[in-house]
């Protein structure tokens, strides 16, 4: 199956700092999503971004499908950004939204 690798595995920031999270995948994809799991366990969809660039407030994401990676940018981080960030993909050739998740990046933002 498709492999999804996220880096870094852990990231510690001071409030106000910027960060970049990376997701590499081993095959072509037709679906790529970023999620945030907050400290209470809730999974929130951040972006559906199989290609191109999107922005939502302080967060933005870019997927370069031809080079098989995606980046999630967090600017001016806040303590509420803490949690685990997951990248998930579906390999091209299937079309049911069968996502394969990476292991996640654990982000801790200190005040």
């Amino acid at each position: 199956g498709i492999q999804v690798e996220q880096s870094p595995p852990d990231l510690i920031l001071q409030e106000g700092a910027n960060s970049t999270l990376r997701c590499n995948f081993s095959d072509s994809v037709n679906n790529l999503q970023w999620f945030h799991q907050n400290p209470w366990g809730q999974l929130i969809n951040l972006f559906y971004i199989p290609s191109g660039t999107k922005q939502n407030g302080r967060l933005s994401a870019t997927t370069v499908a031809t080079e098989r990676y995606s980046l999630l940018y967090i600017s001016s981080s806040q303590t509420t950004d803490s949690g685990v960030y997951f990248c998930a993909v579906e390999r091209s050739g299937t079309s049911y939204g069968k996502l394969t998740f990476g292991q996640g990046t654990i982000l801790t933002v200190h005040p």
Binding site: Q33, Y48, S95, Y96, G97
Partner: protein, 112 residues
């Protein structure tokens, strides 16, 4: 927020007993998914549904069955629970395989 509920939210059961988890949505979305989340494994797809009575296996389907008799409900059944099925189970929904998936709050299942 998407209208997704899961029940029960917490359950403790014993090895060998049957368990059914329910996912209920009020969004009329066609696609529904069951995932499990375990330390060291992230989230893995168990089963999914692409319509009423249309279901198929995911990555880790052994020991699980599902049913979807109406659009709003997707049931996950552990026929005979084992300790390896202790996990947090998440349901997700989507209106399209090419759109965002929205997750329910999760069910924490402990099999003793």
């Amino acid at each position: 927020d998407a209208g997704i509920t899961q029940s029960p939210r917490h359950k403790v059961t014993e090895t060998g007993t049957p368990v059914t988890l329910r996912c209920h949505q009020t969004e009329n979305h066609r696609y529904m998914y069951w995932y499990r989340q375990d330390p060291g494994h992230g989230l893995r797809l168990i089963h999914y549904s692409y319509g009423v009575k249309d279901t198929d296996k995911g990555e880790v389907s052994d020991g699980y069955s599902v049913s979807r008799s109406k659009t709003e409900d997707f049931l996950l059944t552990l026929e005979s629970a084992t300790s390896s099925q202790t996990s947090v189970y998440f349901c997700a929904i989507s209106d399209s395989p090419y759109n965002e998936q929205f997750f329910g709050p999760g069910t924490r299942l402990t099999v003793l």
